[in-house]
Amino acid sequence: MFSKKFLDKLKEDKATWSKKAEKFKDKKSMPRFFTVSSVDIDDLYTPDSIKGADADDHFEKNINFPGEFPYTRGVHHTMYRSRLWTMRQFAGMGTPRQTNKRFHYILKQGGTGLSTAFDLPTLMGYDSDHSRSLGEVGKCGVAVDTLADMEIIFDGIELDKVSTSMTINSPASILLAMYLAVAEKQGIPFKKVRGTLQNDILKEYIAQKEFIYPPRPSIRLITDMMDYCTKHVPQWNTISISGYHIREAGATAVQELAFTLADGFQYIESAIEDGQDVDDFAPRLSYFFNAHSDFFEEICKYRAARRIVAKRMRYKYKAKDPKSWLCRFHTQTAGCSLTAQQPENNIIRVALQAMSGVLGGTQSLHTNSMDETLALPSEKAVTIALRTQQIIAYETGVTNTPDPLAGSYYIEALTDQMEAEAEKYFEEIESRGGVLQCIEEGFFQQEIARAAYRHQLELEKKDRIIVGVNDFVMENEEIDIPVLKIDPETEKEQVAFVKKIKAERDNGAVQETLAKLREVSKNDGNTFEALYECSKAYASVGEMCDVLREEWGEYVETAAAMKPC
């Protein structure tokens, strides 16, 4: 990209500049120049900051054109000039009826995709009438017990007209089975059904901790479902390999990048071991990243992710279809960066984070609402969050050309650095015996806990300033934004509804399908097909999960994984 002669001369000039700058170095506007991930940043970035930039093929090999290997600049040739990202706002609360109303509202406001949040009992595979669900029903998402609930959530929404993302992991197959059952009732062929299932159990053990079964049977649930979708639901994104939660748990940007991609590679290896062809399933894998507050670090993270995935898929897993090489991803702004203090400031944080996702080439985006450290978002806050995306898309001009920051010395150097550091983590994970072994011995968990604690200490020492929290504080601040409360009646209503469904359904058919599920879980068959039959018979999430719990056992965190740091 640059001639050797030019770079040699540059080195000399840079030394001269550095000398001149020396006298200003004692004066510092900030205590330390470092990223949100505690990576120290150089005084200045110049062409020689980009390693190997004197090679003739440096551009082609590392940066290249958008839509061309290694996809550093984006997965499409024209990016947002052809199609904007999907503005996908995560929603779900209370009863299925309330969520259905919110979905209709989002679609009416110009949202282009749906994204479902489920409550904790659903995520953990308990019915609303289970004793462990007490106080949790409908709180941080919608409660789903049986197919009857899914029918209500998507009432009046044609499933071939929207793409739906569902944030669920351990019971993910069950929720997809129910969604497909709704499609069948609407008369929509499965090949027209589009959407994404989070279905990423590995990051549950690592960060979000909503696991039910031990890793091995959990991975079987996933590979069975991938196999089914390859054959019958070809437009469905089977796993959204997620770094979001890893980051929220306290990871640095590099840890988010490395641990997420390591999880992805584990799924790929498991599916290959299962006998599936990499080019059959890999094009339906997608990724999900956080957009934290360090603007440039985030952009570089996305660029590095695309390059790492492309190289691995092509060279290590020998994928031949270029679609298998793509790291397509969803982005959500960082919930953990929002402050309960002066919550309106969160609108600005979200806007900047969203901008980094767009400049990083995301395929879809969720912008957080300003009130999410207080409660689930109110309608007003959700609208502002969506408007933020529309302003970025239509007013700022950042969509005019793909990857507009490419070639910035800082951006390219930091992209390279993050790739190299992620590679170091891959080596370490491998030397420790792989992802599952690292989960068992608490390697990921302790790395994350250590980073989270360091971040907290940096705040308390004021090495790092968060506006409104440890500086620029308003005394006796009154919060005057509306806060959404879930009516306690919600739980009673949902409990009554699941009891009614359980009483009215054909319980013979339920028992029969559950018995079949048990048999399959012990043998070789496809668990997804069995779950689909259970769902159609209105068996509940809890009943299906109980069968698998009885057969496969429940996972408990190891002591090493629980260690604070």
């Binding site: 402050t339 989270a452 308390e460 440890n470 604070p564």
Partner: protein, 140 residues
């Protein structure tokens, strides 16, 4: 005579798996010289109170980010009373709106910390509360 180390049990009740906060608190309390026992995830009120009695702790801290705080805190308080362990200081933190925080503190939760609270504040609070409790115990 050297002062006895403060013993704190930390737990995650309910179904919520967000453990960043409680792990940060565990590390901060440990570095402040306290004995910390972290029970891990998905503890029922019964499990928490039994562990607190067994470990003979001065205080119990729980973290709830799922919105179930108005169910879980009172359940733990009830269980403490039932088992005669209501001299143990109960405190907590999480995504808890201000008016719920007030209600919980009236019910008997010694202190509820909300997002942005420095660990130093929690450490100071525990030290003072345990000191007050020990002085009260001496009088009795």
């Amino acid at each position: 005579m050297t002062e006895q180390k403060i013993r704190v049990l930390l737990a995650k009740p309910g179904l919520d798996g967000h453990d960043r906060g409680i792990k940060v608190i565990a590390a901060a309390f440990r570095d402040a010289g306290m004995e910390v026992i972290y029970t891990g995830l998905r503890q029922t009120p019964d499990m928490i109170v039994n562990a607190a009695i067994q470990e003979d702790v001065d205080a119990v801290g729980v973290s709830i980010l799922s919105g179930a705080h108005m169910t879980l805190f009172p359940a733990i308080l009830d269980m403490m009373k039932e088992k005669g362990a209501d001299d143990i200081i109960l405190f907590g933190g999480g995504i808890i709106p201000d008016d719920d925080k007030e209600k919980l503190e009236k019910l008997g939760v010694a202190k509820v910390f909300t997002p942005g609270a420095p660990t130093e504040e929690a450490i100071e609070f525990i030290r003072k509360a345990v000191k007050a409790k020990n002085e009260k115990d001496k009088l009795v």
